[in-house]
């Protein structure tokens, strides 16, 4: 069975669905195949991916000591409770 290859326009239209892995396996594979051959679409996909990585890095923030202490005492409390019930 021969499949119709996707045009650049179709790939760009579905690019975010592809990056979000919202497409079915076949469509994901079709787009991957297009990106492997098309430099323009690949650059676009790569740009969006890298922007996303940069956004992900924003959710890596050293937790303040105060929060560490708060969590430790919270967990100690749980330990004490579970010890007292056994």
């Amino acid at each position: 069975m021969t499949r119709r290859t996707l045009t650049c326009e179709e790939v760009i239209e579905q690019l975010f669905d592809y990056l979000d892995q919202e497409l079915d396996d076949q469509r994901q594979a079709d787009i991957e195949q297009h990106l492997a051959k098309c430099r323009d679409c690949f650059s676009r996909a790569e740009f969006e991916r890298r922007l996303r990585d940069r956004m992900e890095a924003l959710t890596q923030v050293p937790a303040p000591h105060r929060l560490h202490r708060r969590i430790r005492s919270l967990l100690d409390q749980f330990d004490d409770e579970s010890n007292s019930t056994t």
Binding site: F16, R54, T59, A63
Partner: protein, 189 residues
């Protein structure tokens, strides 16, 4: 812990609130630990509890459901559905930059600038962007988490991305990538 706190901080935009929801999420997770069937899923489970803690706190503060489809004015999702693409802007003619403009843009983009742009997004857009693009939830999972239709998740994502990229473009323009259209050439020194 840093990722948990960082995610909370991006959701709440406030260090004190972020600490509160992290502590609350950990407390909830610990007290419901026996409900967790697969210990390997602990981390994902904890983040899920964090998101839910944020969402219910958000709702409580607004004293109305913030993420339901009819909450904010229709302008939020349906109107102004223009697609703004930073990549397209970086590839238009008459840029002062030349060569690989998107590479240069990414290299010069500071994390602080990106953070400002993300934090400036209205809550419904920012939250959907974080949940989908950063945390990797599917549209269906996100819809369920926020109590909104999948179509609304999709439209908020589009709009959120457009707004974010537009604001990054604005920053880049201010920083000197500014379009130098032929008609303007005489005006520049």
């Amino acid at each position: 812990m840093d990722r948990l706190y960082g995610t909370a901080l991006r959701l709440t935009r406030n260090p004190d609130d972020a600490e509160d929801i992290v502590a609350e999420a950990i407390e909830k997770a610990w007290s419901k630990l026996d409900e967790l069937r697969d210990p390997d899923c602990f981390q994902g489970w904890l983040f899920h509890i964090l998101n839910n803690t944020f969402i219910s706190e958000w709702r409580r503060r607004q004293s109305r459901p913030p993420f339901s489809s009819d909450d904010d004015a229709p302008t939020l999702d349906e109107c102004d559905s223009e697609d703004f693409s930073l990549f397209r802007q970086l590839h238009q003619p008459f840029l002062l930059w030349w060569g690989n403009t998107e590479e240069r843009f990414l290299n010069e983009l500071l994390q602080e600038e990106l953070q400002l742009a993300l934090d400036a997004l209205p809550d419904p857009f920012r939250v959907v962007l974080i949940v989908v693009e950063v945390q990797g939830y599917s549209y269906a999972e996100t819809a369920e988490m926020l109590g909104i239709p999948v179509g609304t998740v999709r439209s908020r994502l589009n709009r959120g991305r457009s707004l974010l990229q537009k604001s990054l473009w604005q920053q880049a323009s201010d920083a000197g990538i500014a379009v130098n259209r032929p008609g303007n050439e005489g005006a520049s020194p």
